[in-house]
Amino acid sequence: MSNRDSAPSGTTRRRGASTDVEPRPNESHARKIGPGFLVKLVLVALVDALGVYGVFAASAVGHWGIVAFLVVALVVVNVVYFSRRMIPAKYLVPGLLFLLVYQLFVMLYTGYVSFTNYGDGHNSTKEDAIEAILLQNDRRVEDSPSLPLVVVRDGDALGFAVIEEDGDVAVGTAEQPLEVVDDAVVEDDTIVEVPGYDVLSFAQVVEVQREITDLRVPLSDDPNEGALRTQNGSVGFISRSFYVYDEAADTMTNTDTGAVYRPNDEGNFVNDEGQELTPGWRVAVGLDNYSAMFTDSRISGSFFQVVAWTFAFAGLSVLTTFGVGLFFAIVFNDPRIRGRKVYRSLLILPYAFPGFLAALVWRGMLNERFGFINEVLLGGASVPWLSDEWLARFSVLFVNTWLGFPYMFLICTGALQSIPGDVIESARMDGAGPLRIFRSMTLPLLLVSTAPLLISTFAFNFNNFTLIYMLTGGGPNFPDAPIPVGATDILISMVYSIAFEGGSRDYGLASAMSIMIFIVVGFISYLGFRRTRTLEEI
């Protein structure tokens, strides 16, 4: 694809106008069948095919949001790539689509979840909850017999025919309670014919298996007597449900006690005495999750402590890694040092280590009794590196420095080498000492190029879940905290332990806290980049 071919028509016209030559025909891929066009056709066809497959797959499971998105996306892709105009869009569309899916959608969905009570006990829709309550409370009547059964069909209605204990054959459907029929044909304990009904073969039974396992054939008009059901299509038993759902009134009634359960605002059926039925379903809870962070005494007590440590951890991590990295960068930038290349490669080693692994290895090395540090380096001392509050914080920072300084070392080395030698030279000529040169020349010049990276390092460490989780697990836990939160927990690891470890999973609260963290990180980055701009003006 040469540049000329795809030049926007505007350029052509301008050039044509200025040279006053007849404009050459406006040729583009869209109208010329060349190799480029064929490649495009195949690629777009592939995208279309995948998209259409996605539409089918999503509509099969009833995800209409995805269907709508895919349809719109496909239309946009086709219009953009087969149109003569929209040259910039051709380059932007793939990126924009991915941005929509992977960034905006995730953010919006997290935002949406944060306004619901999605979590344990509120896992799905109301229909699912009703179904689960009915099924969980549908039990086999004690000492009731297992009866040989066949599935029968009367028009559209499915039913069961059973051989009762006294040898009579009874038949019934969901609407029609069991009734004894006289002229059914039984061969080898199997019903083969029931007048007025079709007896289904096993293959036909499998075809409608969901309906059959859901089917209840009442014994009589009184629901408390129970109903015949089957789980395998060949043996039936009598079961009784303790709850009845009344669709019109939207209530759940306990058939034993007569208690009526009504849906409440929190997505549960609840009776007058306040007893809830599980499971519940997802409902919107407004700002409850957000206010819980500050007003729930269990969370808010540790919340500010954790916030403070998160800032301290992220800030100190940037300082230590940058400090150590810069120090080594300056040292190894000095031409008087021999074998600089070897040292430099050695220093980058920790960077090549996967962070996960490194944190785990350090955890082992810092073990109080069997760790390398205590056992070998300290001659068998028992320093509680990970179980003392302040030593644990120190260890986290130390390991993070070890993990992070090679990155800073690389950056600083690069930045140092880009500082023009004559600037430093002239400073020296003006009589500045090495310290003065560093403070007034090298460092500010270095910061211009590294400050954005320092800010992103801060943001990264603000959410450095891996290190905390792998190294200390947030511990040692605060003994008196009513939630499992410890001295080295940062916000994101606190979110994790509240949402997933402190009892039941609470995705709503976790999402709300994630959004809060997002806002904090975003605000800090904004401030940081504003500061950077002033640095650049030096």
């Binding site: 279309d48 499971v61 179904e131 309550i133 293959a203 789980q231 269990r298 040692p476």
Partner: protein, 424 residues
């Protein structure tokens, strides 16, 4: 120009339709229910009235996936029903089940330990199983494991629990109480007296539980039928007595939070200790390494019976399964049969859940575990349990290391757990 455009559009539309047709075919890979299509008939004759077809999806974690694959192959051979076994990480399998079922992505069956059951029931993702008369063939502990609130939700196949494992080369008689045992083991002059695996950050309440129950401080109170209530029972005098015992054992160096599972196993393999409190998962390795070991009940520390947690392994159905009949066929007419239970035992090496199968065993090690577990109680499957582990382990670390006064720390822990349960 228009001509070419329309060619383009026609071509694109044609391609799309072709692929859409393929896609439609793919979507139809859900159970093909037309029995006429299957030519190979059922060889095992386990089903009456015709062949079964279709595909069951089973989730199993890394420790069970091979076992499930082997047993499923047999089911396929018997019935013609394809079984797709999907491996999931053991740490996430239960949680993933909870999130997958409502979205329609769940498996037909999940193979797991029973302790996630309460959570599944609360979230309405697990279906019920009607075992009928077969229920009586299972050991009460196994059946209790798959029962929640009076309803049966799965088919158990194995039970496991921890016990005291003794290295017979170092010592051959074991006293009846913990204190005497520690005294005897200390007298042997080995590196460690008794190994109980711990974790520097989370202790290990599971491995300490037999000792705790011997003080009469079970984690939750049980109602008359043996099911757990959400009422915490580990507080009070007995709990405090156990906490003080932990502190004393920690101070004496018997319990040490730095002895992790790996350290403990290596030490026992190296003959550095005569005793280890552990489960069947380690013992196979001990036997393979040529150690002569006996499996005994954990001796009492507080005077009452030392009851370990009993974990029940089972097959649990998805409440929303499209293949409800096949699932039931697999669970009740296949897994819940003595033959298959025996095979599961041979493949997995755990105490079988079916009494008849378990009694037919002639393996002193499994018998030892069986005996140690006879007094045991099923690990609570109530959702409240997940609130307990974190606090429990953290408190035990503080007590064993002496970081906090035992009685006070234990009481705080109990209050925290109660608050966490109340908050849910």
């Amino acid at each position: 120009m228009t001509m070419r455009r329309s060619i383009t559009i026609a071509a694109a539309a044609g391609l799309t339709l072709t692929l859409a047709a393929c896609g439609g075919g793919d979507g139809g890979s859900e159970p093909t229910t037309d029995a006429q299509e299957t030519t190979d008939s059922a060889t095992g004759g386990a089903t009456e009235g015709g062949e079964l077809t279709g595909t069951l999806t089973i989730w199993a974690d890394e420790t069970r996936v091979d076992l499930v694959e082997d047993i499923s192959a047999e089911f396929t051979a018997e019935t013609g029903v394809e079984v797709e076994v999907v491996q999931k990480a053991s740490a996430d399998i239960g949680t993933e089940f909870i999130t997958a079922v409502p979205s329609g992505e769940g498996p037909d069956i999940i193979v797991s330990a029973h302790d996630g059951l309460g959570g599944w029931v609360t979230n309405g993702v697990v279906g019920t199983v009607e075992l009928g008369d077969t229920a009586e063939e299972f050991s009460p502990a196994a059946l209790a494991g798959v029962t929640y609130d009076g309803q049966v939700y799965g088919v158990p196949y194995a039970i496991e629990n921890i016990a005291l494992v003794r290295n017979n080369e170092l010592v051959s008689e074991t006293p009846a109480t913990w204190d005497e045992l520690v005294a005897q083991a200390t007298g042997l002059g080995t590196e460690y007296s008794v190994l109980v695996q711990q974790d520097p950050a989370a202790s290990d309440p599971y491995h300490l539980y037999p000792l705790q129950t011997s003080f009469g401080a079970p984690v939750f109170a049980q109602s008359a039928d043996g099911s757990y209530t959400s009422e915490l029972a580990m507080g009070g005098e007995q709990g405090v007595a156990f906490a003080e015992f932990l502190a004393a054992q920690g101070a004496a160096g018997v319990l040490d939070v730095n002895i992790t599972a790996d350290v403990a196993k290596e030490a026992f393999l190296a003959g550095e200790s005569a005793y280890m409190v552990t489960g069947p998962w380690n013992v196979t390795e001990f036997v393979d390494a040529g150690l002569d070991v006996s499996v005994l009940p954990v001796p009492t520390a507080g005077g009452e019976e030392a009851q370990p947690f009993v974990g029940v392994q089972g097959f649990f159905p998805n409440i929303d399964s499209e293949n409800a009949l096949l699932v039931n066929e697999f669970l009740v007419n296949f897994i819940a049969t003595p033959d298959v239970q025996t095979q599961l035992f041979e493949l997995g090496g755990r105490v079988p859940a079916m009494t008849e199968v378990a009694e037919g065993l002639d393996d002193p090690i499994l018998e030892g575990f069986n005996e140690a577990g006879a007094t045991g109680v099923p690990m609570p499957a109530i959702p409240e349990m997940s609130a307990v582990w974190e606090f429990w382990g953290a408190a035990e670390v503080d007590i064993i290391t002496g970081n906090a006064p035992a009685a006070e720390r234990w009481t705080t822990m109990v209050e925290n757990v109660e608050a966490a349960i109340a908050a849910n």
